[in-house]
């Protein structure tokens, strides 16, 4: 008996795991028929999930936390038992602005700290307070951008203007001069670069090597009421994620995503980010960034509670939420490693032994304790070397000037 599930998503490369689950038969194998609902704003995706038009959503991890904490229109308890990927985004700035940064874009990308300082100097030379597009205030992109700007003493709420606009409108906006740059998930940054209007300034994976990005979000009540369907979906997605990370499948994946029903951009543009090949300026040689985006390896899909808490710590840092023990616990509870474990117990997915870890502490690939299978965690450093201890959030925050 086939169960139908409606899942909302936005047109971005990292809808890959959902798209592959549908198009490559992984969902079908679990008796699921997926109705992937293409949506063009995060607000609408949120509303569709919260009000039940869809059962799950490809959601910005910080948005899932924000909605649960009541920070984004209607409060609703959301739950994320699965991560749809890590990394995959890029900051691009208009050519004119980038002219004040290091002349070689490859060098810029390799030195995020230096580039942040160059950026601070460039602000002074620019004709107005730079307007940088972010896809949503509750996005990893916005949090990483703030983290990065602040490292050079830039106040993201006073020295620049962060303007919210959805990923699909970013390229148009930079063409129209409405924004001076933007940070978004691929392939939008590359599309702007290809058009000749913008250059790469920073890549998410060089800010945090294993940055939490999108999660598969559900309403908590639905999750609790439908354990069997949830488990089937997670199993299908886990297999789809393995398929997505196979180098041999990337072209086929790019072709799937290129379709208008998904991302609707040329497949060779999409392929670049999937293979970690970034052309930082039109006509330049590509830069290789092998961990530009991950879908499955290193237990990418495991929803570490510490990552939900990192998000919480940044929301507190930027005065978006009042800190309290209760709020902290609520934020941590959005990520559901217990459901991940239950759903994938019988599979051959490597399963971490712990549900929380230090974030940013791994420098070289590290074998970690796992319930089964070998689990190697890749380096997950923050570019400024800071380590996030989820049990010492106050101390962590005290270490920042702002």
């Amino acid at each position: 008996m086939t169960t139908n599930l409606r899942i909302a998503f936005l047109p971005l490369n990292d809808v890959a795991v959902l798209a592959a689950a549908r198009e490559r038969g992984f969902a079908e194998e679990e008796g699921l028929s997926l109705d992937l609902v293409r949506t063009t704003s995060w607000a609408t995706l949120r509303d569709r999930l919260v009000y039940g038009q869809v059962q799950a959503a490809h959601m910005l991890a910080p948005l899932a936390v924000a909605v649960t904490l009541g920070l984004s229109q209607q409060p609703a308890a959301l739950a994320a038992p699965f991560k749809l990927g890590v990394n995959g985004n890029m900051l691009v700035m208009a050519k004119d602005f980038a002219a004040a940064l290091a002349p070689d874009p490859a060098a810029r990308l390799a030195d995020p700290l230096g580039t942040a300082h160059d950026f601070a100097a460039a602000i002074g030379l620019w004709r107005r307070k730079p307007i940088i597009g972010v896809v949503h205030r509750f996005s990893s992109h916005a949090l990483m951008l703030r983290y990065w700007l602040a490292s050079a003493g830039i106040d993201p709420d006073r020295d620049v203007v962060l303007r919210v606009l959805p990923p699909s409108l970013t390229v148009e906006a930079i063409h129209a001069g409405e924004i001076d740059g933007f940070i978004a998930g691929e392939p939008w940054g590359s599309a702007a670069i290809d058009s000749g209007r913008a250059e790469a300034v920073a890549i998410g994976t060089r800010i945090w090597q294993r940055g939490v990005e999108k999660v598969l979000a559900f309403r908590e009540t639905w999750l609790e009421e439908n354990p069997e369907t949830t488990d089937r979906l997670l199993r299908a997605l886990a297999r789809a994620a393995v398929w997505c990370d196979e180098p041999g499948n990337r072209e086929a994946l790019a072709d799937i995503l290129a379709d208008a029903r998904y991302v609707g951009q040329p497949s060779d543009l999409i392929l670049r980010a999937l293979t970690g090949t970034i052309v930082p300026r039109a006509g330049d040689v590509a830069v290789s960034s092998p961990d530009f985006v991950l879908f499955s390896r290193e237990a990418t899909s495991f929803p570490w509670r510490s990552q939900a808490l990192w998000i919480y710590s940044q929301l507190v840092r930027w005065n978006m939420v009042e800190p309290s023990a209760q709020t902290e616990a609520k934020a941590a509870a959005v990520f559901r490693p217990d459901i991940y474990r239950r759903a994938l117990a019988g599979s051959d997915q490597p399963m971490p032994g712990a549900s929380m870890k230090l974030e940013g502490a791994v420098e070289t690939p590290l074998g970690v304790g796992s319930r089964k299978g070998d689990l190697m965690l890749g380096p997950d450093r923050f570019f400024d070397g800071r380590i996030f201890d989820p049990e010492r959030i106050e101390d962590y925050l005290a270490g920042f000037v702002r």
Binding site: S41, T44, R163, S168
Partner: protein
Amino acid sequence: MRIVIIDDSGLRATVLEEGLRDAGYDDIHIVPPRGAFVARLERMAPDVVLMDLGSPSRDTLEEMLTVSRALARPIAMFVDQSDEAMIGAAIDAGVSAYVVDGLRKERVKPVLELAVRRFNAFSRMQTELEEARTALADRKVIDRAKSILMNQRALSEQDAYALLRSTAMNQGKKIADVAQALITASDLLGGI
């Protein structure tokens, strides 16, 4: 009550505005979600903002509602959370409504209900228009196929149509599709 409709589609916005005016609301403004629409909205100080639920510009609008210091009172979406039926109807109709804090729900509800009715009416109009276009195109195709049969097989118009219909029924296809196939074949074979 100042109502601002954020909409690009000329026809849908007009349908909604007309409905509101007919119901007695007269302070209505239409703002396309482009360029500096956020600043325009701030200056207008609306009580209710109606917007297509699916619009990509909703994120920009919501960000403005979060940070704007120019708005005298906060504005939030679907303020009356207890009315789930209303919210469901609005989501299904594709309406998002942002309401200023303090506006009584008895004043908001009629506006929202009207917006839902009008959005649904607009959707139906669009579907009907699409169907009419298709029907017209089909009609032309069927007429042409009838001509071909009348010429090639010396049939009356009625018999030509009956033949198309019975063929369609036997093949489990639509008459228009059978007609189109005949036209294509006829063209390939050298025309009428």
